[in-house]
Structures are given as C-alpha cells and as structure tokens.
C-alpha cells in the first residue's frame, strides 16, 4: 500500500525529528492519561474511604464539660439528624509522646495529638485495608502521617509518659482517618483499645470532645450548621463539615493532578511546534515533488492525505503508547492516595477516562498537522517546480548592515543578526527556551519566597524571634498569665506581645449568626503587612483575613457586627467584649474593618481586633517576643521550653519549617523535577532544531566555508544564534514568572488565604545560576548538534 511505503520512507529519512515528535506526543499522552487516572483514583478512593469510615457530615469540636443529654434532646428534635455521637479525645502534649523508641519527645511538633477509642456508630478509624480497626489492650494504631513523616511502623513502640505515669503501646496497625488524614490538618488521632483509653484518661486530664452528626440529607449541611450554631449546645472549638474534609483530603493530590495535566498541555504545545517545524522542513525539501504531484494532476486532498497519513500514524502510535505506559505509572503516582486512603475498585472509569484523555492528545496532533498542511493549498505547480524562485532573501530595508556591528567579532555579529533576521523560523526554539526558563523559575521563585522569613507575613503573624504557644486546657488563663508575667519581667526580652485567639459571634445583616475566630491583643509590637488598610488600633476596629473578607464580602471601611454577652450558646455568660463592666443582655457591637491581611493558617479564616478575648471560647494563646540584643535565641527557647512546659516554644524559622515543611519538601521536589524537565526539553529541541537547521543551511555553510570561514567561525555563529535566542527566552521567561507566574501562584494560594504573594527572588539562583546552567546546557547541546557542519563537503554542496 502506498501510504505504508511513504510512511516507512519518511520515517527513515527523518529519523531524529520523528523520534523527537514521537517522544513529545508520547510524553504528553502519558502525562495527560496519568493525570486523568490520578483524578479518577482520587475521586473513587476518597469516596470509598468516606464510605468505609462512615465519615461524619458535621463535627463540632469542644473543649470543656459536655452534657450528652442536652445533645441527645436537641438531636431528637432535628429532622436532619440521622445519627449522632459524642467522641471523647484525650489531648496528649507532644512533650509526653515518644515515638518508635525515640529518646526525644514530639515536643516541637505542631500537631495537636489526641488519643481516642474506636467509635461505636460511625467515624471509624480504619486499618490499611479500610476495615474498622479494633485493637487489643497494649496495642495502638498510629496515623498514616506518622508512618510517612516519622517512619513509624508496625512493631514500633509508642510511649506516653509524664510525671508519675507511663503508658507503653505497640503499634499493630496504621490508621486511616477520614477527618484528620492529610498533613495539612494539624490534628491527629491515635487509636487505643477502650480499656487502655480509660486507663490513660485517669492520668491525663485534658479532654476534647467531637460532637459528630450524620445527616439524612448531607446537601443541607449549611442549614444544619446554622441550626447548631443557634442552639445552646457546646461549641467551644471550631466546627468542620464533610465538604471541608473532602477538600483537605483531595488538596495535595488534586494539585499534583492539575500540575501534571497542565504540564502535559505545555508538552503538547511543544509537540505541536515541533510538528509544524518538521512538516515545514519536509515540505520545503519536497517542494519539487509536491509540484510534480500537482503537475500530473493529483488532487490536493490526496497529496495532503499522503503527508497526513504519516502524522496520523505517528500521533496514533505515540498517544497509544503513552496511554499504555501510563498504566503501570499510575500505580506509582497514586501511591500517596493508596497509603492515605486505600485503593478502591474503579470499574471502567479508571481505564476509559485516561484513554479519552490520550485520545484528545491524538486529536490535537491530527488537527495541528492539518492546520500546517493547509499551506499546500498555496503551492502552485509552476512555482514549486521552479524551486529557485523560493529565495529566502529578506526584503531590502530589513537588512541590518554588517557595518552596524563594528563593536562585535564578525562571527558573533552574524550569529546575532541571524537570530533576529530569521526570528520566525527560530520561534520554536525561543518558545522552548521561554518554557524552560519559566517552568524552572516559577517554582524556584516560589521556593525562595516560602523559605524566606518574610513568608510569615502570609501567615497572619508579625515577625518575632520566638513564639510561645499554650495548649488549650482548663487552667489556661492562669498559665497564660504566668507566662506573660515571667516574660514581662525577663530583662533578656526586648519586646513582647501576648495574643489570644477566641471565638466571637458575628451577626449578619439579616440577623443570622456566624462564628469568627478573632485574635486579640496589641498588633503594633510585631506589625504585619496589610493587603489593604492597617492594623486595628481601637476597640471598635477589626482586621479581617483575605478569605474572611472575601467570604463576608467586606472591604476596608465596612462594618462587621460582633455580638457580646448572651449571643449564641457559646457566648453564655461571657464578659462584655469591651470590658467596661456593662454585663447583661446581648449587645451588638459594630466594628469597622480597618485592614485586610493574608493568612494561610487556620484555613485562612482569621481576624484581629483590640478587644479583651472571649474567655468562654478560647482557641489559642500565644506570646510573641524578641530577645534583647546579644541574647542567644536558641538558649532562650530551651529555657522557656522547660519553664513553660508543656507550652510549645518555637522560633520563626522552625515555626515556618514545621508548618510549611511538607510544602517546602514538595516544592523542592517540584523545582528539581521542573528544572530537569526544562533542561531535558531544551536539550531535545535544541538538538533537533539545530540538526535540521544546519541541513537547511547546508548551502550557506558551504559558501561561507568556500570564502574562508573556518569551522570555528561557523560554530561561533550558530552558538551565538542559539544563545541570543536563549537570552530572549530567559528574559521573557523571567518576565513571565515575575508577573503572570507570580499571579498564578497567588491565584492557587488565594484558596488558602494568600492571594497576593510577592516573590522573594534569590537573584543568585534565579538570575545567575539558573541562566548559566541553561546556557551551559544549550551551548554544549549546540556544539554537539552542529558537529555535522564538519562533514558537509563544500565541493559537493556548491557544485550541485
């Protein structure tokens, strides 16, 4: 068959180019199929985990006493409640928890650790086969997070020990927890046997309760949530729902899937450009043949068909292979899902969706080939036969005279000139360099931003040397006072600010209430950068986090109403907000919004005000402080850790690295991977492009050689051209990453509370090391790829 023969001949003739195009289509198809598989797997695994665990639809956390009968009575009267339970948790401080025979406790861990017994009705903690885990005495189930991060495994010991007590358990299984699985959730549940749980309770007085509900209609969760808030039921702590669990669980893998799919689209664009370049080069070489085919009367469609057949075969086989290659690969990239959620049988969707994604890539190949082949329509038979007529001589006036390059070596100037003169031809290469620079720089910039201490300003925290965080407990008020007094008296402390976060009730325009976590204290000591406006200074001012401002639809100057005294169940008996002794019925206090700031902590929903805290509903108590000049921060941290135990004492860096450690680790991987991809793409395309270029330029090269240009001269010319294009690419890539890239990162992080991330750019890495690395790579690739100019015979080329 004629098509098969033409395809064979073509492939043999353009092996290198075909291979590169093939590789790109394969890679694009592999990634898109992999990304699609990841999404399918994520979705099905998440649903299965939630089903197996019988995840609650609404959970109210509560610290302090609880009256089960009241909850029971309320639930009876609410038709939305299907089931409910009150789960008791023992809060274990990091300083009394020892993992896998380690001598050092989990003192500086940012996780809030709780020990629980298996729930009776729902919200089960599951084993690694997604079965409800029931333990024998002496056994413990450890969250998957600790297996991943701390390497805890079956057979290891976990010890809870403090003054006068010590409990030792053996890890028999890891625990999957639909509520608290992901690393970004800063609460973790360890599972004990019920009898062990009771014994531990006797030694550890700190309790937290989860008031959990499963609803008859989960879609009416908002309605239920409002009803609960308006009730007098316990609500000293945050409330979370089903949707949030799902989002938190899906977040990290979902971002991976999105990145993979975006990457595959970029690769597809490159594959498309390669295809265009290859087709155009082929068409140029086959110009006469095309003319002959037209001259003997072959219909245009048929000629196109011959060429198209090749790309259909190429794209089809590459896309199919990419899809097949994605099958074993998917199990690798979904490893994280498998560990945290367990694999679920996916049925046909797991195979069909990725196949459709790969087929889309194939369709894109065919369409782009057809678009380029439209060019055939413009070739007239006569014109094609007189191939000489196709001179690439530029129009006069556009020619940059040699005398303009007096300052440069003639070869360098010729190279620069060529880069500008044939810029359209070099579009592919420039785009690839742009891509390589962009894909490397965006994660690099973000990495240096997130690593820089100034990233603290996206966490709603002013910059200070040390942070002392007190855990929630019944005697927190006294303890906090002691800490503050001690710090105030410490001559080695230059300045400090006690900040207390507590829940307030906020009243909406229609009287509906919502709870707002408000940090109270003096915000002038450790000031924060505000997106808009400034910090609150007086009692009637409030600053909102970006996400709160967005959700509440508030701008600087707008008013938020906080309810004092008697408002909602939680507020019962609370002191007047402004501390002016006007105790009594509920009173609404209008607060003017003075500032909006970025905050990625606590789900991004925080606020700041200069008010006395709502002592009935404390969430966190913190003291930020700067040590006096000459004082050793580390020594001061050790001193306070001992003195204020079990308070958590961290410096800014360790606070950042603990909170963002996972993100930073992930980002380091992403940056390394992106750099590798960028370099690999640059190497591949540079080599493909230059090989084709010197074959296209063979005549020009021969002429130059004949009039005395040495190989070195010619190499300098091509190298200069490549480097000029690279510099343009890097310049455009830098510009892109500093503007649109920055906004892109801001857009993604906007969901977490920081919408306007400003890159803190490390100029050494971004503007010296990275460009030099790319230049070196491209220079070496160029030199290797143009070796062919040595073999080209002048006599043979010129005499043609």
């Amino acid at each position: 068959m004629i098509y098969a023969r033409i395809i064979r001949n073509e492939v043999a003739r353009k092996k290198g180019a075909m291979l590169v195009v093939f590789a790109f289509i394969l890679l694009a198809s592999l990634l898109v199929a992999g990304g699609a598989a990841l999404i399918v797997e994520l979705n099905s695994s998440l649903n299965r985990l939630f089903a197996d665990a019988k995840a609650p639809h609404f959970v109210q956390m509560h610290t302090g006493e609880i009256d089960p009968a009241a909850v029971d009575a309320w639930a009876e009267g609410n038709s939305l409640v299907d089931e409910f339970q009150i789960a008791e948790m023992i809060s274990v401080d990091g300083s009394s928890l020892f993992l896998s025979d380690s001598e050092a406790p989990q003192e500086n861990s940012i996780m809030d650790i709780s020990f629980v017994a298996q729930n009776e009705r729902f919200d089960y903690l599951l084993d690694m086969d997604n079965r409800r885990l029931d333990l024998e005495p002496g056994e413990i189930g450890v969250p998957v997070y600790y297996a991943e991060e701390k390497g805890v495994g079956a057979g290891d010991r976990v010890t809870v020990a403090g003054e006068g007590y010590s409990h030792e358990y053996t890890v028999t299984s890891l625990v999957r927890d639909a509520q608290m699985n992901p690393a970004i959730v800063h609460s973790k549940r360890f599972l004990l046997n019920a009898a062990d749980f009771e014994r531990l309770k006797a030694d550890l007085p700190d309790r937290e309760f989860l008031v959990e509900f499963r609803l008859t209609d989960p879609s009416r969760i908002d309605e239920f949530s409002s009803a609960y808030e308006d009730s007098a039921l316990p609500q000293r702590g945050p409330a979370v729902d089903y949707q949030l669990f799902k989002i938190l669980n899906a977040l990290s893998d979902g971002i991976v899937a999105a990145v993979v799919i975006i990457l595959s689209l970029v690769l597809m664009v490159i594959a498309g450009l390669c295809l265009r370049f290859t087709i155009l080069a082929t068409v140029e070489e086959d110009y006469r043949e095309i003319g002959v085919m037209k001259a003997v009367g072959m219909p245009r469609g048929r000629i196109k068909g011959i060429y198209l057949a090749k790309y259909v075969a190429l794209g089809g086989s590459a896309a199919a292979l990419g899809y097949l290659a994605s099958l074993p690969l998917t199990s690798l990239v979904t490893g994280n899902i498998a560990r945290y959620m367990g694999r679920a049988p996916q049925g046909a969707a797991g195979l069909v969706v990725p196949m459709l994604a790969a087929a889309t890539i194939f369709a894109m190949v065919v369409v782009s080939a057809m678009l380029v082949l439209r060019r055939f329509d413009r070739v007239s038979a006569v014109e094609a036969l007189r191939a000489e007529a196709r001179s690439e001589a530029p129009r006069p006036g556009r020619v940059l005279p040699l005398s303009a390059g007096r300052l440069f070596d003639i070869n360098v100037f010729l190279g620069m000139r060529d880069a500008l003169q044939r810029f359209r031809l070099f579009g592919l290469l420039t785009f690839v360099f742009f891509f390589a620079a962009g894909i490397t720089l965006i994660p690099l910039h973000f990495l240096s931003t997130i690593r820089s201490p100034s990233f603290i300003s996206y966490m709603g925290i002013g910059s200070s040397d040390i942070r002392v965080d007190l855990r929630q407990s019944d005697d927190i008020d006294e303890r906090f006072e002691e800490v503050v007094e001690h710090i105030a008296a410490d001559s080695e402390v230059a300045r400090f600010a006690p900040l207390v976060t507590s829940l307030f009730t906020m009243v909406g325009e229609n009287g509906e209430t919502e709870r707002l976590a408000v940090e109270t204290g003096d915000f002038s000591v450790f000031p924060l950068d505000y997106l808009h406006g400034r910090a609150p200074r007086s009692h009637d001012e409030i600053a909102l986090s970006y996400l709160n401002a967005r959700d509440l639809d508030k701008k600087v100057g707008d008013t938020v109403t906080l309810r004092s005294g008697g408002g909602g169940g939680a507020g019962a008996g609370q002191a007047d907000l402004r501390g002016n002794g006007n105790a009594g019925g509920a009173r609404d206090l209008p607060m003017r919004v003075t500032g909006i700031y970025q905050d990625v902590t606590d789900g991004g929903r925080t606020a700041k005000a200069v008010l006395p805290p709502n002592r009935e509903n404390l969430l966190a108590s913190t003291v930020s402080l700067d040590v006096a000049p000459g004082t050793d921060v580390a020594a001061k941290m050790r001193e306070y850790s001992e003195l204020f135990a079990p308070a958590r004492v961290t410096d800014l860096r360790s606070y950042l690295s603990q909170t963002l450690g996972n993100t930073i680790d992930g980002l380091v991987m992403v940056t390394a991977g992106a750099t590798a991809v960028g370099m690999a793409v640059a190497v591949l395309i540079t080599s493909l492009f230059l090989r084709m270029l010197i074959s296209k330029d063979s005549k020009r090269i021969a002429v130059m050689k004949s009039i005395g240009f040495s190989l070195r001269s010619l190499r300098v010319q091509y190298l200069t051209t490549a480097l000029v294009l690279l510099v343009i690419g890097i310049g455009a890539g830098s510009l892109f990453s500093n503007t649109i890239g920055q906004r892109l990162v801001g857009f993604v992080w906007g969901f977490m509370g920081a919408s306007q991330i400003r890159f803190v750019i490390d100029p050494l890495q971004a503007y010296l090391i990275m460009p030099l690395l790319l230049m070196l790579t491209v220079a070496i690739t160029t030199m290797v790829s143009i070796r062919g100019i040595k073999e080209q015979s002048i006599a043979a080329t010129i005499a043609e």
Binding site: A393, P394, P401, L402, I410, V703, S710, I794
Partner: protein
C-alpha cells in the same frame, strides 16, 4: 617566473558502494606560475571542476601533492586551509553563491571583515573601489534579489578580490550569463589578471579560454594536452584570431 601552484601525481577517487571506486583525477601534474591566466577545458565529466576544488583545498585529494607556494595542502589543517582560502585565494562560481541574507555591499566586505588583515574602514574603502571598477557602485545597498545575473557575477568577483588574493579560481564564471554579460566579465577578469592576480578558470567557452595565456585540455581525469596562447593584449581582432586558433586546436583534440 615563480611557481605559485603545483600538483604532483594528484589523484581523486570516490567510493560508490563496496567494490566500486571511481577515479576522477588520475595523476595530474601541473604547474601554474605567478601572474599567469590559465584555463582548463574538456568535455563534461573529464574532472575539470574536481581538479579546481582539489587545487584550492575545498576538496581533499585521495593522494598526491598540491603545493601552494611553500605549503603542501594535504598537510594543512581545516583551519589553515580556511585561512588560506580567506587571505590568499579567491573564488568565482557559475551559480555565484552569494549570501541571500546580506546586502550586496555586505557580501563583498564579509570576508574582508573576517580576515582582519586591515581595519574595517579600509575594507569598506576597498570594496567601494572594486565596485567602482566593476561598475556596480550604485548597487551597494541593494539586496541580491535586486540585481541581474551579470551584476551579481561582478559582485562575486569583488567578493573574491576583497582580500587581494594571489590567485583567483573560477568555475565556469560566465556559464550562466548572456553573451554580452559574459564578454564583460571576461574583460574584467583579464583586467584583474593585468593587476598581477593569477587566474585559473574552468570553462566550456572558447571565447573565455582564448583570453588566457595557456589552456589545459582534460580528458578522463588527465591533462591530455596543453596550449600556450601567449599574452592576450586585449584588442578585438587578436581576440577573434586567438578564438579561431583555439577552436582549431580543440577540434583536433576532440577528433
């Protein structure tokens, strides 16, 4: 007269397949003197162009020796050969082979800039002078698409002469021109030779060859015959007489 270029036992063969070697040049011995104007003639496929490309180092000989002044070409590196072509040799081709992305003026000065033997201003001055002499001064800023074949060949000659080479090689320099342009180019080459530049041409055109001092006749990879025509003094009648004499001689060779 001093010898400028000399070949001894020059052989060139190409391998076409495993056991098929084609000899294009067979033991060519020749000697070109300084200031001489020599033409190589012969039927198609006799090896004229191959000889030319081997004498100037654009092609690597299979065996034998080519001496240019005191240097033996097969012992020179690619870099030294390139330098030799740049500064001491000039070339004019049938297809002219100008660089299409450069203006006419830039095509001429390019190798001058590259050679760096003099300053760039001096190169430009010399280019203008050459363009004046060859009658293309008004084309300086034009692109090559805006000139006729005859004009382009003058550009080619200017380019070849920019570095004041000792020898100018020509591969059918009038082959693609109409007869009037061809005559003008021939007169120009004669003039260049009068300045002292040695010229060696491959040509099919008797009128071109008749203007040279000596004609070498090649058949089947060898120099089969040689004819001394003596110095051409440049008037119309002597030209025609020389053409007739050469034609007669060529007829004898062909027979």
């Amino acid at each position: 007269m001093n010898t400028l270029l000399e070949s001894k036992q020059l052989k060139k063969s190409y391998r076409l397949g495993k056991n098929n070697e084609v000899s294009v040049l067979k033991d060519v011995d020749l000697r070109i003197h300084e200031g001489e104007f020599v033409s190589i003639m012969g039927p198609s496929g006799s090896g004229k162009s191959t000889l030319l490309y081997n004498l100037c180092g654009m092609d690597r000989m299979s065996s034998g020796e080519v001496h240019f002044k005191d240097r033996e070409l097969s012992r020179l590196s690619e870099k030294e050969l390139a330098r030799l072509r740049l500064t001491e040799m000039g070339f004019v081709f049938q297809q002219i082979h100008l660089l299409s992305n450069l203006s006419i003026f830039d095509n001429i000065i390019l190798s001058g800039y590259l050679a760096k033997s003099t300053g760039r201003r001096e190169v430009e001055r010399r280019a203008r002078e050459l363009m004046d002499i060859t009658g293309i001064a008004e084309l300086a800023g034009n692109s090559i698409a805006q000139a006729s074949g005859g004009q382009l060949q003058r550009v080619g000659i200017c380019r070849a002469l920019i570095n004041e080479p000792q020898i100018l090689f020509g591969d059918e320099p009038t082959g693609a021109l109409d007869s009037r342009s061809a005559t003008e180019i021939m007169d120009l080459l004669r003039e260049v030779n009068d300045w002292g530049t040695t010229i060696m041409l491959v040509t099919h055109d008797v009128r071109v060859a008749a203007r040279s001092d000596r004609v070498l006749f090649m058949i089947d990879g060898r120099i089969a015959a040689e004819k001394e025509l003596g110095r051409y003094l440049g008037n119309g009648t002597s030209a025609r007489a020389r053409e007739e004499e050469l034609s007669g001689w060529l007829l004898e060779r062909a027979a």
